[in-house]
């Protein structure tokens, strides 16, 4: 029994962290809000590609790194920390094991809209019992206004058809599991950033002559936030292991990870906004970039109730 990341896993994560710190600043996230559909900047994406992150789950025989989800999940937590707008979960976690490294992949598997639909090279589409892989360039995509502008959502008409990747139920279930797991990891990272920002703010902000972080009510809000994160994070890491090793509990473990990460991130977001007060309530301050992504992801790839019901069903 050993719950610690290996040196290799840590090295991967730290490399991603360093890259994101440099290239995925809040200003870069704002740029993703503003860039026209189809023109998402690919600088950071190309760096991730060069690091091997995009093909991490692709077998070595197919030119990938042949590693597993316990390597990718810590990287996705880092992506959450910076609110990376690119479809990294969709591409590296969901699509790559099925179709290899084929560029930027967007998908409708996760929810109501297709994030980064116009920015993708390929679209992985669920249509009835099948998964199709389509060239984006050939498709008519309708933009959708989302609360998080960096989601860059789109929709497709119902009658799109194209080459079938798989029609196996198990493949689609596994893809959904990987999507939920990757999104859970993103949510942990988002929550960590929102907590860190809030701790910094309440330590500096003074009212009534003292830092507002010295008020017990603020302390208890943030202790609750820290508490939720403390117990959601191991659940996510355990789910990564279960998926990587195809444990019999993998579906239950992934659902637990997504439910707990969604709940924790929503809670941290609420506490963060409340402890910021008015400053957090403006788009000029950065908090909203993380808050809105949290709301989007907490209900994508199955919301907390959906995954809790799955756990309930699997506990019988």
């Amino acid at each position: 029994m050993n719950f610690a990341l290996s040196d290799d896993q840590i090295a991967f994560r730290d490399a991603a962290r360093e890259l994101f710190a440099k290239e995925m600043t809040p200003a870069a996230v704002r740029a993703a809000w503003d860039a026209p559909a189809g023109e998402l900047d690919r600088g950071v994406w190309n760096s991730l590609d060069a690091m091997g992150v995009l093909s991490l789950l692709v077998p070595e025989a197919d030119g990938g790194l042949g590693l597993d989800e316990t390597f990718l999940v810590p990287v996705l937590e880092e992506a959450g920390r910076v609110a990376l707008p690119h479809p990294l979960v969709e591409t590296a976690m969901v699509a790559a094991p099925m179709v290899g490294a084929v560029g930027v992949v967007a998908t409708n598997l996760g929810g109501a809209v297709i994030p980064c639909a116009c920015d993708a090279d390929q679209l992985l589409l669920r249509r009835g019992p099948s998964l199709l892989l389509l060239e984006r360039a050939a498709l008519e995509i309708v933009s959708v206004d989302t609360v998080d502008g960096a989601r860059r959502g789109g929709r497709l008409p119902d009658d799109v058809t194209g080459p079938v990747v798989t029609a196996k139920h198990a493949d689609i279930e596994a893809a959904l599991e990987r999507g939920a797991l990757g999104t859970a990891a993103m949510l942990i990272g988002l929550a960590q950033t929102m907590l860190d920002m809030t701790v910094a703010y309440v330590t500096e902000r003074k009212q009534f002559g003292v830092a507002i972080g010295s008020f017990q009510a603020v302390k208890h809000h943030l202790a609750d936030a820290r508490l939720a994160l403390e117990f959601a994070r191991p659940a996510v890491l355990r789910a990564a292991w279960s998926v990587a090793h195809d444990e019999p509990t993998r579906s239950r473990d992934v659902s637990m990870a997504k439910a707990m990460a969604s709940d924790a991130a929503e809670l941290v977001g609420r506490k963060a906004l409340q402890c910021h007060g008015a400053i957090g309530y403006t788009v000029e301050y950065d908090l909203h970039l993380f808050l809105k992504r949290t709301w989007a992801l907490s209900r994508s790839w199955g919301d907390s109730a959906h995954h809790t019901d799955n756990v309930a069903a699997l506990l019988v």
């Binding site: 929810g111 206004d145 009534f208 008020f215 609420r270 008015a278 309530y281 209900r299 109730a305």
Partner: protein, 384 residues
């Protein structure tokens, strides 16, 4: 005890309902079916048009005396009006900060000249008032205001900065506290001033709220000369350096009965219950019913409060409980709606817009942390 409405009150309700339903439909039609948010530049103009229709119909300020543009309605009738207003789907009031925050203080502290000069123009949406309470370093701690006004011949010279001024970029006038005794500290030495935003040296910069609408503004004062007669009846409300008690009276009404009436939440709760019926499972339908009860309880508690006020009681620190209740109720209603919508919730729409707005409830008008302190100290008598 009698929990029925009188025939006159029923008549008032019927009249209000008919006018509101007819006129809000006409207004919508005149602005392309679904007017944009009143917290954007274009939308604000549409909403001003609505305010003027309300005024012309005699519904802008039903509880005010007729001489100032109201119809002298009782508190009961005001509650009925509010219920009908939101039931008919009428839009948020872009004039609310003048009507609900400034006007009570004008009624209590204003001279006859101020009342006559200010109130009717406010009701008619000729003058548009925004509040100037908060400053970058004065939020919950309102008494730490540093914006200052220096007395000079014939007026005041203003310097400093206000912020979080709701719809400030679209308004014509600001009311707020300024430090007029430079040696004073905390809540002493503050004067309540009325300031036309067109005054030279005053700069307004709008900025985006959480939902992206330009609902906030910063207001900068740089050696702005405010003439004593810049507002009819004079620019000082109440006594010079007595601004704190005037502001507290306003803050009292801000927190109290008037800012967010039960009608608003009853309307949202009805929509939520319909959504839950349409797409909820048992668990979500139960949560929706709980939220509906919380909205209805707010109505009942308000009726009980108005009963007390009608028999001569003064509003007290219970106002803190009311603020806690409606602000947390609003979040509850929208949270459940988002849970019902699931992944669809991230698409822009009335529920996601309402959700974002609801999150401001525990922050503005005195944070809920402050309100809980007040409830514990003033209602339960716990030590400060």
């Amino acid at each position: 005890m009698d929990l029925t409405w009188s025939a006159e009150e029923d008549e008032f309700r019927a009249e209000a309902r008919e006018w509101l339903e007819t006129n809000v439909a006409a207004w919508r039609a005149d602005h392309g079916g679904e007017p944009t948010s009143g917290d954007t530049r274009d939308g604000f103009a549409h909403h001003l048009d609505w305010e003027r229709r309300l005024f012309d119909g005699g519904w802008a300020v039903v509880s005010w005396p007729e001489e100032h543009g109201g119809r002298g309605a009782s508190l009961w009738e005001w509650l009925i009006f509010e219920e009908e207003y939101y039931r008919a789907g009428c839009p948020p009031r872009v004039t609310q900060n003048g009507i609900f925050l400034l006007a009570p203080s004008i009624f209590e502290f204003g001279s006859a000249a101020q009342q006559n000069g200010i109130l009717r123009r406010m009701a008619a949406a000729d003058d548009l008032w925004c509040q100037g309470w908060s400053e970058p370093n004065a939020g919950s701690d309102l008494a730490s205001v540093t914006s200052r006004a220096e007395r000079v011949e014939g007026g005041w010279v203003l310097n400093g900065q206000k912020t979080w001024t709701t719809r400030g970029a679209f308004c014509t006038h600001l009311f707020g506290l300024f430090r007029t005794d430079p040696s004073s500290e905390r809540h002493r030495g503050l004067t309540y001033l009325l300031v036309p935003l067109a005054t030279e040296g005053v700069t307004v910069r709008g900025f985006g709220r959480l939902d992206g609408d330009e609902g906030f503004a910063e207001v900068f004062f740089e050696d702005a000369f405010l003439a004593d007669d810049a507002v009819t009846g004079g620019v000082v409300l109440g006594e010079p350096e007595g601004g704190w008690s005037v502001a507290m009276a306003t803050a009292g009404s801000e927190r109290g009965l008037t800012l967010r009436s039960p009608g608003r939440f009853l309307a949202t709760a009805a929509k939520l219950v319909a959504l839950a019926q349409e797409r909820g499972d048992d668990g979500l339908r139960r949560r929706a019913a709980t939220a509906w009860m919380h909205a209805d309880a707010y109505q009942q508690q308000t009726l009980m409060t108005v009963t007390k006020l009608a028999t001569g009681a003064k509003p007290g620190a219970e106002a803190s409980l009311t603020k806690l209740w409606w602000s947390e109720l609003d979040i509850e209603l929208h949270q459940i709606a988002l849970d019902l919508l699931g992944a669809e919730a991230e698409v822009e729409g009335p529920w996601s817009k309402g959700w974002q707005f609801s999150l401001s409830g525990p922050i503005y008008a005195g944070t809920n942390e402050i309100q809980r302190n007040i409830a514990a100290e003033r209602l339960l008598g716990l030590p400060r």
